[in-house]
Every structure is written in C-alpha cells, then in structure tokens.
C-alpha cells in the first residue's frame, strides 16, 4: 500500500473498544445459563427447536445479504442472538420445521428486508414468533412439555391441569382461576403462590426460555452491570405490570415471574434497534409496554400478551424518538441569576 502516507480523518482519533459483536456476545453469555438449564430440563426436542431456530435465523440473514451482494455479517452475532431469543420463546416440543420457518422469517421479514441491522422497526425474533404463532396456532399452543413435573418444582395441582388440558401454562391456569367465565377449564384448588417456587427455579410448563426466572434475572443484572442494557425499560415494564395487577387484586409476584414477561422485558424490549434512544423515551416505552401487557393478559383471547405488546410498542418507537428527546442543554437558564 501507500508507503509512509499519513492517515487523515476527522476527530476523534481514538475509539472505545466496544463493538457490535462483543455486545451481542455479552447478551448471549447472559442467556447461556437459562438456555443450558432449559436444555437439561426439556432434553432433545428443545435442542432441535434451538438448532432449527438459530440455523433458520442465520440462513435468512446469509441468504438476504448474499442475494443483495452485501458483505455477509453473520459474525457480528446479531442473527445468532435473534435465533436464540426466538427459540427461547418457543414451546419446547414444537416441530423443528416451525422453528426453522420462524428463524427464517425473523431475519428475512423482520430484519433484512428493512435494510438489516439497525434499520428494522419490529423486533425480529418476535416477528418470527408472531408469524409462526398465527400461522400454526394449534402447534404453538399445544407443544408444551407434557411429562410429569421435575423434582425441584412439583406442583401436583398444576400437573392435574396439564393432564387435562393441552398447553395449560400457569398463566392460562390463573386466567381460569380469575375469570372462570371466559376460560376453557376451571382448575381446582390452585393458588398463585403455589407457583412461586417452580417459576423461580424450574417451570416445565412454558416456553423454552421460561424455565427459571431466577436465571433470567441474573442474566439481566449482568447486562445492566456491564451497561449493555439500560435498567429503565425492564424496570418500568415489569413495574407497571406488577402495579397494575396488584391494583386489580391479582397476585403481582406471580404475574411478573410467569409467562414471557421477564424474557421480554430484559432481553427483547431492550433490543437496541427497536426501542427508543433517549432515557425518557425508554421510560415511556416501558410504561406503554406494561399497560399493554396488562390489558392483553387479562382481557384478550390469549393468556399471554408480551409478544403483542412489544410488537405494538415497537411501532410507536419512531414517533417516541421523534418527540421525546433528551432535555436540551441550554433550556435551563442561569440557575443562580438572582445572586
């Protein structure tokens, strides 16, 4: 190359060491314990789902970038993370081909078609999930773990329901407890507090990523501590749900631990590309998410509303980003003017 020529560029001439790949890697690390634990509990079927979802995501990304003759950026880890997060939100016994289609849709329809990393408007993993959820609703609502409870968290009352109804998650069971009129079955002798322990430690009746709230929270704390994610979105989101559920006489702890709320709040609502940029915007985003999830969980057809809430609020982000800016410097005039 040009020997001895100096480089000219604009300032700054030094950069932080962070880069996209490292960030994605951190998130994957944060998710690793929960993922591994889930594989231990659910076994091979979940592994196939995981594999299919991740390969689908990678394949989608690769195909689109090759097709557009762009540099292929699989190595930045974002497509892998998308696939991983998608898998974590799928039921463990889903046919692998649905997971594959989910992964493909996530990166193609959810991300690359908008121009790739940083340009998508909706959370790719959730786009993938929503598409397969709507397309194969029966699989998606019935492919839950069916065998007996695992040692650590034996809730015989729930086990009874699982035997009775396919796809009864704790949320569905509690929906039946609270709104027997609109429910498909009425569980007997079940109480929200029965669920605390299994939800925290080992919950086999849900999506792959929901096995242990504790591991999810630990991963979240790690991400917050390493400043990968901002605490505002998870906190306002979970907080709003908790407050609203408590306000309407339901059990807030149960509703924060169960379903996709934690994984959604910590890992999906915080997705950089599809959440607001400013701190104030993030708070508003979190509040909106909380409200939507609350409404959808208790009054819509489905027992869970995290996915639709996040997608719905993703659509609001461009507007939030446009009007909710950081407080402009220079608005506050001379605080000490009096003296």
């Amino acid at each position: 190359m040009t020997e001895n020529k100096l480089v000219v560029s604009t300032s700054p001439h030094i950069r932080d060491t962070a880069n996209t790949r490292k960030i994605m890697l951190q998130v994957i690390i944060a998710l690793a314990p929960a993922t591994i634990y889930a594989l231990v509990i659910f076994g091979l079927p979940a592994f196939w789902v995981l594999l299919a979802s991740i390969s689908g995501a990678l394949l989608g990304e690769f195909a689109m970038q090759k097709g557009r003759r762009l540099p292929v950026t699989l190595s930045d880890g974002s497509a892998f993370l998308t696939g991983l997060l998608l898998a974590l939100t799928l039921p463990p016994e889903l046919p692998w081909w649905i997971a594959l289609v989910g992964g493909l849709t996530a990166t193609i329809l959810g991300k690359q078609i908008f121009g790739g990393l940083g340009h998508n408007i909706f959370n790719p993993a959730l786009v993938g999930r929503a598409v397969v959820f709507v397309s194969w609703a029966s699989y998606m609502t019935t492919s839950y773990f069916k065998s007996a409870a695992i040692g650590i968290a034996n809730t015989s009352a729930h086990q009874h329901i699982v035997d009775l109804v396919s796809g009864a998650t704790p949320l569905a069971a509690m929906k039946a407890v609270y709104d027997p009129a609109g429910a498909t079955f009425v569980p007997q002798g079940l109480n929200a507090s029965n669920y605390y322990k299994p939800l925290l430690l080992a919950n086999p009746w849900g999506c792959i990523g929901e096995v242990s709230a504790l591991l999810l929270i630990l991963g979240g704390l790690y991400l917050i501590a390493t400043r990968i994610i901002d605490w505002r979105i998870p906190l306002t989101y979970v907080g709003t749900v908790a407050v609203l559920t408590a306000f309407t006489g339901r059990d807030p702890l149960f509703y924060t631990l169960s379903g996709g709320l934690l994984i959604g709040a910590i890992y999906m609502a915080t997705d950089y590309t599809t959440s607001p940029l400013s701190s104030r915007g993030k708070v508003i985003f979190g509040l909106g998410l909380g409200l939507m999830t609350f409404l959808l969980r208790f009054w819509s057809n489905n027992p869970e509303g995290v996915m639709f809430s996040i997608l719905f609020m993703n659509g609001m982000v461009p507007l939030i980003d446009r009007y909710i800016l950081p407080r402009k410097y220079g608005k506050l005039r001379c605080a000490e003017e009096g003296g």
């Binding site: 908008f114 340009h119 709507v134 819509s300 659509g315 461009p318 980003d321």
Partner: protein, 210 residues
C-alpha cells in the same frame, strides 16, 4: 347508577373496539389508498388525520339525519343509500373546503389540500354506512344505530385511522433512511411494515369480547 355504568362501559367498548380491535386500516383494510399515499411525511399525516376526524364526524351526523328522517321513512333507503351518502360526503367536503378557504386561510393551508383526497377515501363512506345503515355493523356489541352510538363509533374509527396514519408516517420517515432492498423501496416496504403492524394488532382480536 349501575345501568349508567354499564352504558358508559358499552360506549367505551364501542370506542375502544373502533380504535384498536377493529382498526379500519390494519384490521378492516379500509382507507388504504390515502393511507399509503399520504403516510410518508409526519406533518402531512397529522394534517390528514385531523381532517379525516373532522369530515367523518360531520358526514356521519348529516347522513344519520338523512337516513333516519328521509330515506328510511320513505322506504327508499335500500337502493338510494349509496348515491345519497356519497353525495352527502362529496358536497360536505366541498362545502367545508369553501368555508375554511374563506374564513381561515391558515387552516386551509393546513387542511385544505387533504380534503379532496378524503372524498375518494372509502374510510369515510364505510364509516357512514356502518354506523348509519343497519346490516353492516361488524363488532360484537349491542348497537342500535342511535345518534350517540353513531357518533362514538365514528370518532373511534377516525381516531384509529389517524393514530395508525401518524404512527406509520413516523415509521416511514425512519424507513426513508434505511438501505431497504432496491425492489422493496417505497410502497412495498410500507406494506411490509403494515403487515407486521397488523400482526401486532391481531393481539387485540376478541379483546373485551369484542
């Protein structure tokens, strides 16, 4: 008190359903042409949104009167409702345009250009037909075609229209900066975004039993 509360709740549901659950654009596919035509700039969308709310409410009010006091009593509603309603909308729009052009030029600058677009917007006609003429209302809720009901419904519908229009234009302004694949530039990508947003709106299906 209790019946009043029920009544209020019913009106709330009517409104809620019209805005979100039965959103005209994303769920009912009504009013798409101006939606995709206009939603590429935020300022325009806001102007259009306001104009639509205004025109829809006026059109429904007038049509309600015409239906209940002219067409229906005469027994000619069944075959005259289409020309009657569309004529009402067209003349109303033209009338409003003339009035604000004369009385408030700034308002005309803000709203005037969208008014002609509204005449040819099926959202207005659909809102009028559904709220006024029996047999077209879709929601699963008691609806007796009374004036207040028609009004609440129309306001809901038009606000739902405006809401999605505005959200969408912000979205499209962001998409303008994105390196979208060449053949998806412009209209196709807007449709993809609409698809995904309607997917999100599907979460509302059956909400509150609507």
């Amino acid at each position: 008190m209790a019946p009043d509360m029920n009544e209020a709740w019913r009106y709330f549901l009517l409104f809620f359903g019209a805005v979100l659950v039965y959103n005209f654009i994303l769920i009912r596919f009504i009013g798409l042409c101006p939606f995709f035509g206009i939603s590429n700039r935020l300022e325009t969308s806001i102007g259009m949104g306001i104009s639509v709310v205004f025109v829809m409410v006026m059109a429904t009010s007038v049509s309600w009167v015409v239906w209940n006091y002219v067409l229906d009593p005469l027994g000619v509603g069944d075959f005259l409702y289409i020309p009657a309603f569309i004529l009402i909308i067209a003349s109303l729009v033209q009338f409003v345009e003339m009035v604000i052009k004369k009385t408030s030029p700034p308002l005309y600058k803000a709203m005037g250009i969208y008014l002609p677009l509204i005449t040819t917007n099926c959202a207005v006609l659909a809102a009028v037909i559904e709220s006024v003429r029996p047999g077209f209302f879709k929601m699963n809720i008691a609806y007796n075609h009374t004036f207040p009901e028609a009004l609440v419904f129309t306001i809901g519908v038009s606000l739902g229209f405006a809401l999605v229009l505005i959200l969408f234009s912000a979205m499209r302004e962001r998409l303008d900066l994105a390196p979208v694949p060449k053949f998806f530039c412009g209209i196709p990508i807007a449709f993809i975004a609409a698809a995904l947003y309607s997917l999100a709106f599907m979460g509302f299906t059956g909400m509150f039993g609507l």
